[in-house]
């Protein structure tokens, strides 16, 4: 053992390093490949042309049943990207609750979600991208803050 300090450092790093299992997802997104929330932009991968900022992501503030989320949409309004909330305070749960409430609203209107893509990074669920069978993004105007 040439330098015990190196071994001790490695062991301590292994013991104290925070390794996390994946973020909690809604049941609809189980087993679905996610995209990174840090690397996505307005253009890629969802071609968001409505209410999207290259800096902060979705910009339209909406409130469903009193729960606030931000959304952005694509040109033909079949894709809605929802971001849950502030990174420092329960973003995963805010995102998951936001998705469930949006889905509930879509189901009420007989609109089907045909694809869901989780958006996550660093063990946090930042958002979901929902693709619907018909244009649906305009619905969220009714819920604007």
């Amino acid at each position: 053992m040439k330098n015990p300090l190196i071994y001790i450092t490695v062991v301590l790093a292994a013991l104290t390093g925070c390794v996390s299992s994946p973020a909690i997802r809604v049941a609809d997104a189980e087993g679905v490949e996610s995209v990174s929330g840090l690397s996505m932009g307005c253009n890629s991968p969802f071609e968001l042309t409505r209410d999207c900022s290259g800096f902060s992501g979705p910009t339209k503030d909406i409130s469903i049943e009193g729960h606030n989320v931000k959304v952005a949409g694509n040109d033909d309004q079949t894709v809605t990207v929802i971001f849950g909330g502030k990174v420092m305070s329960g973003v995963t749960q805010a995102t998951n609750l936001g998705y469930e409430l949006m889905k509930r609203e879509l189901v009420k209107r007989n609109i089907k979600i045909v694809k869901i893509t989780p958006i996550e990074s660093s063990g946090l669920m930042f958002g979901y991208a929902l693709k619907t069978d018909v244009p649906s993004y305009q619905i969220w105007d009714e819920f604007k803050n």
């Binding site: 299992s21 909690i24 729960h67 329960g90 189901v107």
Partner: protein, 140 residues
Amino acid sequence: MNYLKVVLILVTTYLSGCVSNQSGFVVPGESLVPSARYYVVKARDDERSLNEVIVRNLLAKGYSVSTGLREETPKAADYLINYGSQWQWDITWYLLDFDIRIYTHANNLFVASAHSEQTSLLRKPQDEIVASVINRIFVD
């Protein structure tokens, strides 16, 4: 004076690690009644049988509840309970994030959810976390 500032910063930093965040949400107009039949769907990635802990807690509150795989869902169930857990390694494993979500069985409509999030310094045991999350939306 400088010494006092340093102590205050250290205490604040230490205490900020002892944080637990919990909440519950029931969709307005919906309610979770004890007379309904609940079914806890075992999560595919749950290696610690948290579904059994949920069932124990609900039975203790007088709710009619059973658990098993999604494919085994009884036709008579009124509500399905899904749950999720995120574990973190920090010298030992602890339950970082836990939630339950409740849906109607008939049309898979979201009804309620509750969650708990805790930091490494707090690290309450999993049974305690599950019980406190259930208490957020199920009343005795």
